[in-house]
């Protein structure tokens, strides 16, 4: 059984003047479901293509199972890849598409038939083998593409947004199936997506990229609850973390956050020990990140921090998303309480923030950790 451990060492890649991948180092463990996520143009697909051997990095090395494969062509890397547009060969039947990698490896005919049948049954497409790609639905095409990748039992399985061309319902269905399949087969899988929900739901570990840089690699839970970077906070979660600017000032020996329309003592929401760390940021404009579920709404000014204007209330079945505007900032609030929504009259409400659940980022977007155990 192939192992499939991938190690990227200081990979950089430029296209003309555009830096696509900027000094990325990461290790994907054997049998892991590893997801690269980020907005379009963040370098995630380029990173995947560098692993596949479709692009050559300007700098850095690629190792698969400890072997330096940087100079090897794709066919000698033993990686299989699934493309966003499926890339099925239109002039071949489903059977021939799946059999193609085995034919190229000159496997005996009986073995090819047996293997194609095996993966076709695994992916529930054994009734489609005689059809041509143009006779298949999107979901079926994607299954064929998966089958073609699986049939030769590759060391590493690479997927470039394989679900993004499918409609929402099939996408969710195939997503779960893909995860189950990966568990069952235990093949190292590197999966690229721009959809943070897909990333969190599939990945054993998720790497967030932006502008060619790798910002954070963590388990989905850690990524959600402990973002190291302001971009990660603003990218992960639906709706993502609200970012509110606040100036840190010192007044009567107390450190105070000045939000413009209201001020609050730093110790109100941050461990006392944190004060020392914050002192060096006095005078700077920091960013406070707060998840939509940790903002409380209220219909009266009592015990609230600030008044905001309601733009929209979206019922999503079990929860509500309230979009409000404060100055120039749009803030998203998530609530599960129907009674709170019903109390809203007019378009003015008051909000309060659960500061103990908030994150602080410095002017460069790096997280300021306050509690020692977080360091």
């Amino acid at each position: 059984m192939p192992k499939g451990e991938v190690y990227l060492e200081h990979i950089s890649k430029k296209f003309g003047n555009v830096v696509a991948v900027d000094d990325v180092t990461l290790k994907v463990h054997e049998g892991e479901f590893f997801v690269l996520v980020g907005p379009s143009g963040c370098g995630k697909t380029t990173t995947l293509r560098i692993i596949a051997g479709l692009e050559k990095p300007d700098k850095g090395r690629v190792y698969i199972d400890g072997k330096d494969v940087t100079e090897l062509p794709p066919k000698d890397r033993d990686c299989a890849m699934v493309f966003q547009d499926y890339a099925l060969y239109p002039h071949m039947t489903v059977f021939d598409n799946i059999a193609f990698p085995l034919k190229l490896r000159k496997r005996p005919r009986e073995e090819i038939v047996k293997e194609v049948r095996r993966v076709a049954e695994l992916l529930h497409i054994d009734h489609l083998l005689k059809r041509y790609p143009h006779q298949l639905s999107g979901g079926e095409k994607q299954r064929v593409a998966l089958a073609r990748a699986l049939v030769r039992q590759p060391r590493v399985f690479l997927m470039d947004e394989p679900l993004s061309n499918l409609d929402a319902k099939i996408r969710l269905y195939l997503r779960a199936e893909l995860k189950a399949l990966q568990r069952k087969l235990g093949v190292t899988t590197i999966y690229v997506t721009h959809d943070q929900a897909e990333a969190l739901s599939l990945g054993d570990r998720v790497a967030v990229m932006n502008k060619g840089k790798l910002l954070q690699i963590d388990t989905p839970n850690k990524l959600f609850n402990d973002p190291r970077d302001v971009f990660v906070a603003s990218f992960i979660g639906s709706p993502p973390t609200n970012l509110i600017k606040a100036k840190l000032i010192k007044q009567d020996d107390k450190i105070i956050f000045d939000f413009g329309d209201f001020k609050t003592y730093a110790e109100n929401f941050i461990d006392e020990r944190c004060a020392d760390k914050l002192i060096k940021h006095v005078g700077e404009e920091l960013i406070l990140g707060i998840r939509p579920e940790y903002i409380k709404i209220s219909t009266s000014p009592l015990k609230a921090l600030t008044k905001v204007k309601v733009l929209a209330i979206e019922p999503l079945g079990s929860e509500y998303i309230i979009t409000v505007i404060r100055g120039n900032d749009i803030i998203k609030i998530k609530t599960f309480s129907e009674s709170e929504i019903e109390k809203i009259r007019g378009d003015e409400i008051w909000i309060s923030i659960d500061f103990s659940k908030s994150y602080l980022f410095d002017t460069n977007g790096k997280r300021i950790y306050c509690k020692d155990d977080e360091l």
Partner: protein, 288 residues
């Protein structure tokens, strides 16, 4: 009739006029003259029925010309198809300068056949041709291209396949370019070598382009006239007197226009039927 339709018809009138005057009228007149003994020098135009067509059957110059045409077509088409496809592969594999090479290799298509004929005539000339100068300096010696029938045939084939290769190149290359990049990448990842990629993916997928290039090459080679006429004028003897040249000779050297028109009509039908057969045989009715 609504105004949009009226404007549409109005727009078509100029091209209809052109087609009627320069295509339909001459075609009809050619057919008419083929039934006469029209001769400019003798100044006669008598209706003689199918006499011209009957003499075609026993015309030994025609059968010889037909044979030389077939040889010419077979060689120039296979040569230009192989070279054109080979160039398409080379340029497609080229990492840099694709645009420059594509432009350079398309230049022959912009040159009139008459000019191609003149240029090749001089290039292959025994005394001052650059080809013979190079051959001599390499120690091979000069080749008298225009003094032997077979060498003259070769000379016209060289000129014609020079143009034909760049035609094939452009059509097949555009076929390659129309194939989605991810199919090629998928094939590489599936483990294909470059040879297997062309054999299994690129050539099968540009099959239609290859066939179209082939059809046009066959038809164009059958009609070859300008450059051949400039180079050899059908000579030496009748060695390169292909069908179209034979027709023009009958018309303008022997002034036997009636007979030339009969030849032209037969050639027209022959090429049309050939084209129909080729299109029917090679172009699949509908493939996705």
């Amino acid at each position: 009739m609504n105004s949009e339709k009226k404007i549409g018809i109005l727009m078509l009138i100029p091209s209809i006029i052109l087609i009627v005057f320069f295509v339909s009228y001459p075609t009809v007149m050619t057919f008419y003259y083929s039934l006469t003994n029209y001769n400019v020098v003798k100044g006669v135009t008598d209706f003689i029925g199918l006499t011209n067509y009957i003499s075609l059957i026993t015309d030994s110059k025609l059968s010889n010309s037909f044979l030389r045409t077939i040889i010419f077509v077979l060689i120039t088409v296979s040569l230009s198809m192989s070279i054109g496809i080979f160039m398409a592969v080379l340029i497609y594999e080229c990492q840099i300068g694709k645009k420059i090479f594509t432009t350079l290799f398309s230049v022959p298509l912009a040159i009139p056949f008459v000019i191609i004929g003149v240029v090749f005539k001089f290039m292959l000339s025994y005394d001052m041709g650059i080809v013979n100068q190079i051959l001599e300096s390499m120690g091979i010696g000069r080749i008298p291209f225009y003094s032997s029938g077979d060498l003259a045939l070769l000379a016209t084939i060289i000129a014609d396949s020079w143009w034909g290769s760049s035609f094939t190149f452009l059509v097949v290359y555009s076929g390659f370019e129309s194939i989605s990049r991810s199919l090629i990448e998928a094939a590489y990842i599936d483990g294909a070598s470059t040879f297997e990629l062309y054999k299994n993916i690129l050539l099968p997928l540009s099959k239609r382009h290859v066939i179209v290039a082939l059809l046009f090459r066959i038809i164009d080679a059958f009609r070859a006239f300008d450059h051949v006429y400039m180079m050899t004028a059908g000579g030496p003897g009748e060695a390169t007197q292909y069908l179209s040249i034979y027709v023009s000779k009958v018309a303008f050297d022997y002034f036997n226009l009636g007979y030339a028109c009969a030849l032209a009509v037969v050639l027209l039908f022959a090429i049309s039927i050939l084209a129909q057969i080729l299109f029917k045989a090679f172009i699949p009715r509908r493939t996705k």
